[in-house]
């Protein structure tokens, strides 16, 4: 029942796309299409939410389309339902936001048809139950998002981003195709149920793990496969950026969990070492680059890379515990990972919406031109501040809870028998803490430069508050962030069936604990009560304010800034984004960022202005991608000659290929 309803909703989304093609020139098209999308997302959210909370049975459905001997199989279990909740929550918020934001779109015909397809594709990935349907849905998702990235294709930068994105997406799908091919075995058992029942050889499982890491990791943005992400995500319209960063990366995580936790059987301990290494590097590198960005949306995209790293740290820990048959710690780590995925969908969407609002209000993406927006856009500033606190993992908001759970899982690592893991996991914990602290620095910089201080350019001085639909969407997300932060037990209990299904156990039920605390292992070990922390902070703030207003002077006078006696009216004398990042650039600069600060100081008497040039290069792009890209263009150059052959030569190529294939078959048999 739930499966057919879900598929019907997906079909409605596809129909909406067709409708959008027909009516995109009408003035009411934008509102109509986004309204339908909002409605369908809410329906899907309700469906998935009920099946997750009621812990309904796993449901199947097979449709007679797709591969003739297989059909298209669909299935909804707890994992699918959880990710459906995440995705449709993000989708609903984005649609609501787009009701206001979409009106500023210059060419709605380039966005409206693809937007519902994108939503449909993501939902379809989650319910697919055979490799063929999964890959088709995955490609739907990739191609529609690619089309959305190219919505503003007049910008040369965007066109380039689209090119790199399509390359990486095809590469990732290719890796997934190989992975499923290996899993299906020589007899071609493409249904997930058959794969699950099969036993696989050890080397094959390792290979599938690597392919899954490449395929799903490239979509999620794991270092070193992240290079497309900070280019492509910001290129799309802001509500689509939010979907790509906050939601589509979650689909990639879903794909990874489905393959590695569900289809692959019992993991080996060294898998987790690989994943933990990649994930902790991803987290730190991502946030360091985020800290260096001047484009607000690109900063957010790099921060997505960081958060994906954090989610993968949780998954790696879960694998390590599962490999050693420690189900309870595995459930803790797995829950932490999913909790963080949920949180990230909330606050990253919120922040991208805020960035979109700033972009609409000022037209400037470079944060060095902004400043002082807190006075012009107080409500946007307020919700953005909430998002900043959430993503910086600060109590009492939700980002802190998932990282706290992650630290609790790290603290259980001494029970692992392998020495490599025993010593590596605390180091991973240090990297996690480093990433969290750097992300606080990163978002203090972003908020401080964009919203605080004085306007650095006329665009920022004339900004106006954004529309009510956008604000409604952002406030809803902020409310959810707060709710997940102060009542985390509810979410942990909702994740419980997912963890039980995949790692064999779930965290102890939290709803029964008095006072809404969460207790991951035992009360004597650790506990956290978001509600009380929130209550404490609120009460003590109010008490302080009351006290101060009763007993202290309430006189107040406005005056020019003090600034040690030398205030300057020129906003150019403020600290800039680049100068804010300078200490971190200097500390981590040489080794990680390849950063160079060049000062060109003109000698006294020379009227030429002095110049400070800052360059930050992507070390991964230069070491991994530039050589490959050179190689490919050289090869392409060579292959170019093949276009100018005679008919006879072409025929001989075809003939040769045929012979080689036949030989292959002969040898194989």
């Amino acid at each position: 029942m739930a499966v057919s309803a879900t598929l019907a909703a997906i079909a409605v989304l596809l129909g909406t796309a067709a409708l959008a093609i027909a009516i995109h020139r009408r003035p009411f098209a934008t509102v109509l299409i986004y309204c339908i999308c909002l409605g369908v997302c809410l329906v899907l959210l309700a469906l998935a939410g009920t099946s997750l909370i009621e812990r309904g049975p796993v449901q199947h459905l097979t449709l007679p389309i797709g591969l003739p001997w297989l059909g298209a199989r669909f299935r909804i279990d707890a994992l699918s339902a959880f990710f459906q909740v995440v995705i449709n929550l993000g989708g609903a918020a984005a649609s609501l936001y787009a009701l206001g934001y979409g009106r500023h779109e210059e060419a709605p015909g380039r966005v409206l048809p693809f937007y519902p397809v994108f939503l449909a594709g993501m939902n379809l990935v989650l319910v697919a139950d055979d490799a063929f349907t999964f890959l088709v849905a995955w490609e739907f998702m990739s191609l529609s998002s690619w089309a959305l990235v190219l919505a503003h294709h007049h910008d040369r930068e965007n066109a380039e981003a689209g090119y790199i994105y399509i390359l990486m997406a095809s590469f990732g799908t290719f890796a997934l195709l190989l992975a499923f091919g290996l899993l299906a075995g020589p007899s071609g058992q493409y249904a997930f149920g058959d794969i699950r029942d099969m036993a696989h050889a050890g080397w094959l499982e390792g290979l599938v793990l690597v392919l899954a890491l490449v395929g799903a990791g490239s979509k999620a943005g794991l270092v070193p496969l992240h290079v497309w992400l900070p280019l492509a995500h910001p290129a799309a319209p802001s509500h689509v950026s939010a979907l790509m960063s906050g939601v589509m990366t979650k689909v990639a995580i879903y794909g990874f969990i489905r393959i590695v936790f569900d289809l692959l059987g019992q993991p080996r301990w060294w898998w987790s070492l690989v994943i933990l290494g990649l994930a902790s590097v991803t987290a730190v590198i991502g946030v360091l680059y985020a800290l260096m960005q001047r484009d607000l949306k690109r900063l957010l995209a790099y921060s997505t890379v960081e958060n994906i790293g954090i989610v993968f740290i949780g998954l790696g820990l879960a694998l390590a515990f599962t490999a050693n048959n420690m189900a309870a710690p595995a459930a803790l780590a797995f829950t932490a990972a999913l909790f963080h995925a949920f949180n990230h969908a909330l606050f990253k969407s919120l922040l991208f919406f805020g960035a979109g609002a700033v972009l609409t209000a000022t037209g400037a993406r470079d944060i060095e031109k902004l400043g002082g927006l807190i006075l012009r856009m107080p409500q946007t500033a307020f919700v953005f501040l909430g998002g900043v606190l959430a993503i910086s993992a600060l109590p009492p908001l939700n980002g802190f809870v998932s990282e706290w759970l992650m630290f609790q899982a790290v603290l259980l690592s001494p029970d692992l028998p392998q020495w490599g893991l025993k010593l590596a996991v605390p180091a991973v914990g240090a990297m996690l803490a480093l990433a969290a602290a750097l992300s606080a620095a990163c978002f203090v910089r972003a908020f401080g430069i964009v919203f605080l201080g004085r306007p650095r350019a006329p665009e920022a001085a004339t900004a106006i508050e954004t529309d009510s639909a956008s604000r409604a969407s952002m406030f809803t997300l902020l409310g959810l962030c707060l709710a997940a932060g102060i009542l985390p037990g509810l979410l942990i209990d909702a994740i419980a069936p997912v963890a039980a299904g995949l790692v064999g156990q779930s965290m102890p039920p939290q709803a029964s604990i008095s006072g809404w605390s969460i207790v991951p292992v035992a009360e004597s070990r650790s506990s956290y009560n978001g509600l009380l922390v929130f209550g404490f902070i609120t009460v003590s703030t109010l008490v302080t304010i009351q006290f101060i207003h009763r007993f202290a002077s309430s006189a107040l006078r406005r005056a020019p800034p003090w600034d040690c006696g030398f205030p300057s009216a020129d906003p150019a004398t403020q600290y800039t984004a680049d100068s804010f990042a300078q200490p971190v650039r200097r500390v981590f600069g040489e080794s990680v960022l390849l950063a160079r600060d060049e000062v060109d100081m003109s000698p006294p008497g020379d009227p030429r202005p002095s110049r400070l040039t800052v360059t930050v290069r992507d070390v991964i792009w230069e070491t991994a991608y530039a050589p490959i890209s050179n190689l490919i263009s050289r090869t392409a150059e060579q292959l170019n000659h093949l276009q100018f052959l005679s008919i006879r030569r072409y025929l001989s190529l075809v003939f040769g290929a045929l012979i080689v294939l036949l030989l292959g078959v002969a040898v194989w048999a």
């Binding site: 109590p395 001494p414 914990g429 201080g453």
Partner: protein
């Protein structure tokens, strides 16, 4: 009845930390002056300063936003809640299970983020320089703190401060890892409280200050609240060191009035000793260049990590 008593003890703790914080500050100033062979201000001078600031009018920059006006209260509240959750004279406080050591560190992080943000609000160059440096220090001090938490939690089997204190009382032993963690925690505490060698609390030489640069635009009652929050933070770190590494005398379990009295007395002694040692350390070393600080804090991070590594060779673990 038990609940009322628990609530009363918790309330006493909250008021106690608030009341003692300026005294600790006054003590450090007095001892420092004496060590430099000056007379120094009275022990109660910080209280008088706070009252004086609270009575003055606020001079607010023209373009200061709502965040600038509400920031001090947020900073103060987060610090106060964190300080209230550290066991000072008794362990089984009613709300001690609300937040563990990681959460206390994160609450201080909340306060710091607000402080860095209000530093940038008016749009002066000094505020920016302070915020920027503060966040850079924090980006190393926080991981170091987390590694210290790891060491302590792995030894005591808990991240709850009450449990840690009781464990340390019962199983007091010399351990390399704990020694390393203590050194690292002292380094973090120096950095977090803007003390020498990281920052100078007494300086108004603009280019060397970090904390003072962020609060430069504040005046009147706002400044009073921020100063009190800073004093609370210093008290918090001294009590934290006392509670984890020197938990003697802290009343635990179903304690009677005598145990509480002993707890309060030993707590006062610990604060005095901690403040004295801090000042001795401060007067014996010089302030570092700003870009030497990351190495200093990096050393704390390394010590924490080394502490966790060495736990594995410890036989008793």
């Amino acid at each position: 009845m038990g609940l009322i008593l628990d609530l009363a003890v918790q309330g006493v703790q909250m008021v106690l930390v608030l009341a003692l914080a300026p005294l600790l500050l006054g003590l450090t100033r007095k001892v420092k002056a004496r060590l430099l062979r000056r007379q120094g201000p009275s022990l109660l001078q910080p209280y008088r300063d706070l009252v004086r600031l609270a009575r003055k009018e606020v001079v607010l920059a023209e373009n200061a936003s709502w965040l600038f006006r509400s920031g001090p209260y947020m900073i103060f509240a987060a610090t106060w809640v964190a300080a209230a959750l550290v066991p000072t004279f008794a362990t089984g406080l009613h709300f001690s299970w609300t937040a563990d050591l990681i959460a206390i560190a994160a609450l201080l992080g909340t306060a710091r983020v607000f402080l860095a943000l209000v530093g940038m609000d008016v749009g002066t160059s000094f505020g920016g320089i302070g915020s920027s440096r503060e966040m850079m220090f924090a980006s190393l001090a926080e991981p170091a703190m987390i590694m210290i938490v790891f060491v302590v939690a792995l030894v005591a089997g808990s991240t709850q401060l009450s449990h840690i204190a009781i464990f340390m009382q019962e199983h007091a032993s010399l351990r390399v890892s704990l020694g390393l963690a203590l050194v690292a925690l002292v380094i973090v505490a120096l950095a977090e409280n803007a003390r020498i060698p990281v920052d100078n609390p007494a300086t108004h030489l603009e280019l060397t200050m970090v904390h003072e640069a962020m609060v430069l635009e504040y005046s009147g009652r706002h400044l009073a609240v921020i100063e009190l929050a800073a004093a609370l933070k210093l008290l918090l770190y001294v009590s934290l060191i006392g509670c984890i590494f020197f938990p003697w005398g802290i009343a635990s379990g179903e304690a009677g009035p005598t145990a509480y009295a002993i707890g309060v007395a030993t707590y006062l002694v610990k604060l005095a000793v901690g403040g004295f040692l801090l000042v001795v350390l401060e007067t014996s070393i010089a302030k570092m260049r700003v870009f030497r600080v990351p190495e200093f804090l990096g050393a704390a991070l390394m010590l924490g990590l080394l502490g966790t590594l060495l736990l594995f060779v410890s036989r008793t673990f």
